[in-house]
């Protein structure tokens, strides 16, 4: 490890007791995808039991010469609910990358702050005694690994370590992050559609220039807001909006849900029959793991990269696309994405056109 990080005013320790709120907040920013944070939470809890709390630093506290490597699962969320990890994968991927780079990794962080990948890095942080960085590369969940702000900043995902539960480890060196996605996804399918990555090795200086700060703290605040609003019989929906700057775009009951698997992703459409102000109309929400486009008739209400998230109308608990079932009463929220995604390059990477929609991106008001 290089020199010590600065102990800034927003440095804090995450303990096992904080994981529930983090997982709830992660599911909200998961926009229906990113996998069920429960598994990520359990794995983090298991790894943190009997070990020191995980220290979290903000970007400014990280020395510029540190090596920061995000840790993440790659694969199909539904698979991860079935084929649970062996628990050795993340450390194996880190060891493989360290061995390749010939130096120790100083800190880890989430690559995406939505879904199970938000809490997954706590596993490797606890096991290797690494600090975490308060931020990520998406500000939400996205389905492909090149869809990170590191790509916009010209950083490479390579070299990356990829490990499965059987003991296989790969190092990938690719010419672009799109190729990294292609090879990693192909290898992951052979590994049984669930694997752990050590990806986007960055210096502290690169981290500060490329990533979205403060998002780990944000999911903690979202989780706490839902819990506290529910306990006080306030509106968890309002609480989420206040913390995220989001707004309700639809209230209704889930009707038909259509799912199909295309190219390793679950794509589909959920129809939400309107109630209250939306009575008589139906909202169609398309998803590819995450919710992509919400429209009613010819009116497009929200598109990627802005966040579309569904909350249980009564409890405010976020609902993933896998959990979606007929009859659920939901409020659909639109949450503005990070400004980096609203640039031409950002929209090229994660805008409606990338997902095959001939729709203009109309930004939600921030």
């Amino acid at each position: 490890m290089g020199r010590e990080p600065t102990r800034g005013p927003r440095m804090y320790d995450v303990t096992i007791d904080d994981l529930d709120d983090l997982a709830t907040g992660a599911a909200v920013l998961g926009t229906g995808g990113g996998g069920d944070p429960y598994i990520g939470k359990l794995m983090a809890r298991n790894a943190m039991t009997g070990r020191a709390a995980v220290r979290v630093y903000e970007f400014e506290d990280i020395p510029d010469d540190w090596l920061v490597v995000p840790s993440a699962m790659i694969g199909a969320p539904t698979v991860m609910l079935e084929k649970l990890p062996s628990g050795t994968e993340a450390v194996a991927a880190f060891r493989a990358l360290e061995s390749y780079l010939g130096r120790k990794i100083d800190a880890t962080m989430p690559i995406e702050i939505g879904g199970m990948n938000s809490t997954m890095p706590f596993t490797v942080a606890a096991e290797l005694g690494l600090p975490m960085v308060d931020g990520d590369g998406m500000g939400r969940a996205f389905p492909e690994l090149q869809m990170v702000t590191q790509t916009l900043a010209g950083l490479s995902g390579s070299p990356m370590g990829l490990s499965d539960e059987k003991g296989n480890s790969l190092i990938l060196n690719t010419i672009s992050n799109q190729w990294a996605e292609t090879f990693a996804r192909t290898a992951t399918v052979q590994m049984g559609a669930a694997a752990l990555m050590a990806i986007f090795p960055m210096t502290g200086a690169e981290l500060k220039r490329a990533c979205i700060p403060g998002t780990l703290s944000l999911i903690g605040r979202i989780g706490r807001a839902i819990r506290e609003a529910h306990a006080a019989h306030g509106s968890p929906i309002d609480a989420v909006c206040a913390v995220t700057g989001g707004q309700p775009i639809w209230t209704g009951k889930v009707g038909d849900i259509e799912r199909r698997t295309v190219g390793g992703f679950t794509r589909g459409t959920a129809r939400v029959e309107g109630s209250g102000p939306n009575t008589g109309k139906t909202l169609e929400v398309d998803f590819q793991n995450e919710f992509l486009v919400a429209r009613t008739g010819d009116d497009v209400l929200v598109t990627t990269p802005d966040l579309i998230t569904m909350l249980d109308a009564e409890t405010g608990q976020p609902i993933t696309t896998e959990q979606l079932r007929y009859g659920f009463r939901v409020v659909v929220l639109g949450i503005p994405c990070h400004p980096l995604w609203r640039t031409d390059m950002g929209l090229l990477l994660v805008g409606p056109a990338y997902f095959g929609y001939d729709l203009p991106y109309i930004p939600l008001p921030r």
């Binding site: 084929k83 019989h233 698997t261 009564e314 608990q317």
Partner: protein, 519 residues
């Protein structure tokens, strides 16, 4: 005449009603007996005698029971269970029983056998099944004297072959052991499905004894009509099925009470407080049905992925112990021994029922036995009971506005005035038998869970086919065709099969078509 008997066996009381259509013809509440049979026999005989009904006129008997739920919550009558999980080298990060409460694990033991096997998402094997490893696990289980085995395998809902094979091996090695395969109980989600299988396993011995007792009670009365048990979605299952899948009855008690409360009060949207002998269940009625928990449901602290009513349980009932020194109420209870141990019944234990009698809000037993209680203390304890219920109602509410509260169950005598936060309070006629009414009016379902290849048909075509078949099964199981509706539709595409395949689950329910048995 075609009549239905609805019975609800609670921890404290057994309730029975005889219903003719929508009319309650006769009802009885009697203490649940330790052997269970006695209470059922007494209750059914009484409702038949009250109405001078011949046993041959009975078209069906529906029994709802909280027996299995209580067993898990109280950690009683549970059989030590071993779990064989097929998935090595995967899944070791989160072994069986990972998120279980310690006291429940202490009751059933931590007997985990992680073995090789399981499937990848695409049908490949994670590793080949090692039958020697399984036999060795089975022998070890046998050597420990364990007779209940749960088998789970990664992706077993997609391919049941390995679980089936392992079940056969275990049956060979451990003749007489009860075996529960996770693929028969739950859906995708290894931990939750495995949890449900383990809960089912540790209940199997109790289920055998309990369902046997139910059948004996009914046949001893000369009733030849079919016996159904109510399951947690408010529909019925045949007795033989219930012996093998007791876990499916979990939470059927609250469902029955809430369905009964809606039926009896005519209210479709309200909060239902069902006060029993030991606990009270608080749930929310939406359009006449219990609000379903939309997230994973915990049973006795264990996470499962059933679809279940969203119920909040508190340790307050007619048999709850009262401590005058601390002025506290519950959660310990005399349970079914209320009529022996409560002061008003000549016992020596002060219960909430004694407080209700002392205050004059209800008459039962011998009031002189509680005449010595201090009037102010009694009044404060009644307030405390109101507060406990108000807190639970408040917890289930989702807005500050008042909502109608329906109070049912035998223990509802404890509540004598509207609780805080209620816009109105309704105690419908036959309130004390709402659970038995809910069992008697329970519907029958038909379910289809099938993989459709969409090469030669459209998704809508497949869906229509599944709906038609589910409705047909409900009708075959005894539902009146004109009442059948599709209540649940789910389709999950599968990546592992060639072509465009999707797994479709459809559930249809309808009213039981009642035809009196001949005679």
């Amino acid at each position: 005449m075609s009549l239905r008997v609805g019975v609800d066996v609670g921890g404290t009381n057994t309730d029975a009603v005889l219903m003719d259509g929508a009319r309650v013809v006769a009802k009885l509440k009697t203490p649940t007996t330790e052997d269970i049979t006695g209470g059922i026999t007494t209750a059914i005989r009484s409702v038949l005698d009250q109405s001078a009904t011949k046993t041959g006129d009975i078209a069906s008997v529906m029994i709802g029971t909280t027996h299995f739920t209580n067993a898990i919550i109280e950690r009683r009558h549970l059989t030590p269970t071993a779990t064989i999980r097929l998935g090595l080298p995967a899944t070791t990060a989160l072994p069986p029983l990972i998120d279980w409460p310690q006291d429940l694990v202490a009751t059933i033991g931590r007997h985990n056998y992680l073995c090789h096997g399981g499937y990848e998402f695409d049908g490949r094997q994670i590793s080949p099944l090692d039958l020697d490893e399984v036999r060795s696990a089975a022998r070890d289980i046998g050597a420990k004297g364990i007779t209940a085995v749960a088998i789970s395998g990664v992706f077993s809902p997609v391919n049941t072959a390995m679980e089936d094979e392992v079940a056969n091996v275990v049956a060979e090695e451990l003749p007489g052991a009860t075996i529960t395969k996770s693929s028969e109980i739950g859906r995708i989600g290894l931990l939750e499905r495995e949890n449900a299988a383990i809960l089912n396993s540790c209940l199997r011995a109790l289920a055998e004894r309990t369902v046997d007792a139910f059948e004996r009670a009914i046949s001893d009365l000369g009733i030849t009509a079919p016996l159904y048990l109510t399951q947690n979605d408010g529909t019925l299952m045949a007795a033989g099925f219930a012996r093998r899948y007791p876990v499916l009855t979990i939470a059927s008690g609250p469902t029955n009470s809430m369905r009964g409360a809606a039926f009896l009060s005519g209210l479709q949207d309200a909060i239902v407080v069902d006060i029993g002998g030991t606990t009270s269940d608080v749930g929310v009625l939406t359009h006449g049905f219990p609000r379903e928990a939309s997230v994973a449901v915990e049973v006795g602290g264990v996470r499962t992925n059933f679809r279940m009513p969203d119920v909040y349980s508190i340790g307050l009932g007619g048999g709850s112990l009262v401590d005058l020194d601390t002025m506290s109420v519950g959660p310990q209870s005399v349970g079914y021994r209320l009529t022996e141990q409560a002061l008003v019944f000549g016992g020596d234990t002060l219960t909430t029922s004694d407080i209700a009698v002392a205050s004059g809000v209800v008459e039962m037993g011998d009031r002189s036995k509680v005449a010595h209680l201090d009037e102010r203390q009694v009044s404060r304890l009644l307030d405390r009971i109101q507060e406990i219920v108000a807190e639970a109602v408040d917890r289930m509410k989702t807005s500050a506005e008042g909502v109608p509260v329906i109070v049912v169950g035998g223990g509802s005598v404890l509540i004598s005035r509207p609780v805080e936060g209620a816009s109105e309070m309704v105690k419908p006629e036959h309130f004390e038998a709402a659970n038995a009414v809910g069992a008697a009016i329970a519907q029958i379902s038909g379910e289809v869970d099938r993989i459709y290849n969409l090469e030669g048909m459209t998704r809508d075509g497949a869906m229509d086919d599944a709906k038609r078949e589910a409705a047909g099964r409900a009708e075959a199981a005894g539902a009146n065709p004109s009442t059948i509706t599709i209540v649940d539709v789910e389709d999950v595409p599968l990546a592992y099969l060639p072509g465009n395949a999707t797994r479709i689950r459809v559930k249809a329910v309808g009213d039981l078509h009642l035809v009196a048995s001949a005679g």
